[in-house]
């Protein structure tokens, strides 16, 4: 499965909503329950799902879900090449 598909399942789990369909421009403004606690839960779930670690600067740099996908892809690629 590609990163977007797996990430979509993480979103559905964190927000307990099976109808969520993520898209590149999506932000917290598009999901009513996406507050600070949900955001951190999301980050922790992504770390666990992909076996990655994020820094605060990583998170701070994310403007939308598309950037989140590309960050995960970069981290996975870096891990694969190390």
């Amino acid at each position: 499965m590609d990163v977007k598909t797996v990430l979509n399942s993480v979103f559905r789990r964190v927000f307990d909503n099976d109808s969520i369909a993520i898209f590149d421009e999506m932000t917290a403004n598009d999901v009513e329950e996406w507050d600070s606690l949900a955001h951190i839960n999301l980050i922790m779930e992504i770390e666990s799902e992909f076996s990655l670690k994020f820094t605060v600067d990583d998170i701070l740099g994310l403007r939308n879900v598309g950037e989140m996908i590309r960050l995960i892809e970069r981290k996975l690629a870096a891990r694969g090449s190390s």
Binding site: D35, M44, V56
Partner: protein, 307 residues
């Protein structure tokens, strides 16, 4: 999606909310939550704070919001990692000092503006401020003393509040970070109280001030220390008999420079008593309600003391 408040009458809070909505929309709802809980008086106080400190310098305010976002994210991530580890990241005071207090970039870009905004944006911090205004300040006014020490001035927020709300007082602030002192002096000056305040680098254990004062402030310092009891004993000697102090500490609240873990507010109270203080009153406030009982939440313990 939470709709913007539309804070046209409060342009500085409006600017903060707009910046949060743009840069970190998951944090923007906090403005509305605080307004809902504390109402118009909170909104007016926050706007006055921002307007007086930042004036019309929109770039400085935007930079402070950026610092706040990073400060808040850092704290939330550490909270989750604390839940797994059950302890703060092992660190000596000297390591924390090098990473935070003696690091001007970290202090001015993230830490100090982050704390400054948190006084209004975090529920437990604002409740602590209410406790200060409603429970501690009346004791200060009734006592009639004229001087206070603020040990660990941080941003200078509480020094400034003492000077602003009790215009007969003069104060002296101490810290181990020159950058905190610079920020505190700027804070006090912005509110027009510079002529009643001075601050300096001082380790109160190694070099206590010559005379005690009728009032002392010590806001969220204890958790930064390796031996808070030794510090509290030195603080006790700085308070005149019959005087009043307000001592607060962060409980189960990991941060880059929190090295002493209090697991409950009661632990703070017991330690303060052990140092010799009598407890007048105390309160504890949570940052938010946990989603599950097993999740830790940052707590503030605020204690009014006398001797």
């Amino acid at each position: 999606m939470i709709e913007p408040l539309g804070l046209g009458g409060f342009p500085h809070v409006d600017a903060v909310e707009s910046a949060l909505r743009l840069r970190a929309p998951y944090l923007a709802g906090i403005v509305q939550k605080q307004f809902k809980e504390f109402g118009q008086s909170w909104l007016a106080a926050f706007d006055r704070e921002l307007g007086t400190f930042f004036g019309n310098d929109a770039a400085a305010l935007a930079s402070a919001v950026e610092g706040y976002i990073k400060f808040a994210l850092d704290g939330m991530l550490l909270q989750k990692r604390f839940d797994k580890a059950g302890r703060y990241e092992p660190k000596t005071f000297d390591q924390a000092a090098a990473e935070v207090y003696q690091n001007p970039d970290y202090m001015f870009r993230l830490y100090l503006p982050g704390i400054q905004l948190s006084h209004f944006l975090w529920r437990h911090h604002y409740r602590q401020h209410i406790f200060f205004v409603e429970r501690y300040l009346p004791l200060v006014m009734e006592h009639g003393g004229l001087r206070f020490y603020d040990v660990g001035v941080g941003t200078g927020f509480y020094s400034k509040e003492m000077l602003r709300l009790a215009p007969h007082l003069s104060g002296e602030g101490f810290d181990l970070s020159q950058f905190s002192l610079t920020y505190a002096q700027r804070m006090v000056s912005a509110f027009g109280a510079a002529d009643r305040y001075r601050c300096s680098i001082r380790n109160i254990i190694a070099s206590p001030p010559a005379a005690p004062a009728p009032f002392i402030l010590n806001v969220e310092v204890l958790e930064h220390l390796e031996d808070p009891l030794a510090f509290l004993k030195a603080l006790f000697r700085m308070l005149e008999p019959g005087g009043y102090g307000m001592v607060t500490a962060a409980v189960t609240a990991p941060n880059a420079d929190h090295i002493y873990l209090y697991n409950s507010a009661q632990e703070v109270v017991v330690q303060i008593q052990e140092a010799g203080f009598k407890i007048v009153e105390y309160c504890e406030d949570r940052a938010y309600e946990p989603a599950r009982p097993s999740e830790s939440v940052p707590i503030n313990a605020a204690v009014i003391v006398t001797r």
